[in-house]
């Protein structure tokens, strides 16, 4: 293979529309299945990606999801131009949420998304500037 032996996937995630939320994650899952990856790895990617995708939909009016599938790892990069996260340590705490009642009624807003992303990735970084947006990067190693 030439210089770049990774597969790049990218998705525009619409903000606010919870009836379509999760489409990007589902598409990634299908692609990884076709590539024949270990179901345990696919599941970890699916959890990380879904939680990040939903956060962009609910909290950031949408964004861009990029997934780089390599031989050794899968890197998920989620970029949005939403309100940003003022206190990342606080946001990472299990149970912390600012979700509105309307999305809580649908089962979101447990404050468990970011903790799940941390738990199911091998590395996770959040960069956020209030008023500018947020970038979340997660790495899942392929054993």
């Amino acid at each position: 293979m030439s210089g770049d032996d990774k597969i790049h996937l990218s998705y525009q995630v619409e903000g606010g529309d919870l009836t379509r939320a999760g489409e990007a994650s589902s598409s990634v899952k299908q692609t990884l299945r076709k590539l024949g990856l270990d179901p345990a790895v696919i599941r970890r990617v699916s959890v990380c990606m879904y939680e990040g995708e939903i956060n962009m939909v609910i909290h950031a009016n949408g964004g861009l999801a990029m997934v780089d599938v390599g031989l050794d790892d899968i890197v998920i990069t989620l970029t949005d131009f939403g309100p940003g996260i003022p206190d990342i340590d606080k946001a990472m705490q299990a149970g912390y949420t600012t979700a509105a009642d309307s999305v809580r009624d649908l089962g979101f807003g447990a404050g468990m998304g970011l903790p799940n992303m941390k738990k199911y990735s091998d590395d996770m970084k959040i960069k956020s500037i209030v008023g500018m947006g947020t970038t979340v990067t997660m790495v899942i190693n392929i054993p």
Partner: protein, 109 residues
Amino acid sequence: MTVQELADTLQLKEFNMGEPDRTAEGGYCGDLLSWVMGRAVAGGAWLTIMSNVNVAAVASLADVACVILTEGVQPDPPLLARCRAQDINLLGTEMSTYDCAGKLHALIG
């Protein structure tokens, strides 16, 4: 035990059987989607009273063998449509979550 055998044994309502021969083992009860995402066992049964369309995405991405709507809850039409399109096993029962989980525990751990 397959999902079909489970449905027959517990006389569950079959809203959609996309993958009846899938084996189900273990399970999780929960309605908060991120809890389910983080804690549901792959290949297990997921018992919930949530019936909106997002249940389909969670079921598929958490890789559960089947969703069982308990307490007589009916699926919202968009959920049923999504389960049909994505071959997700969607079952239902009049049993309470507690009773259903108890029965499941004896059958599939």
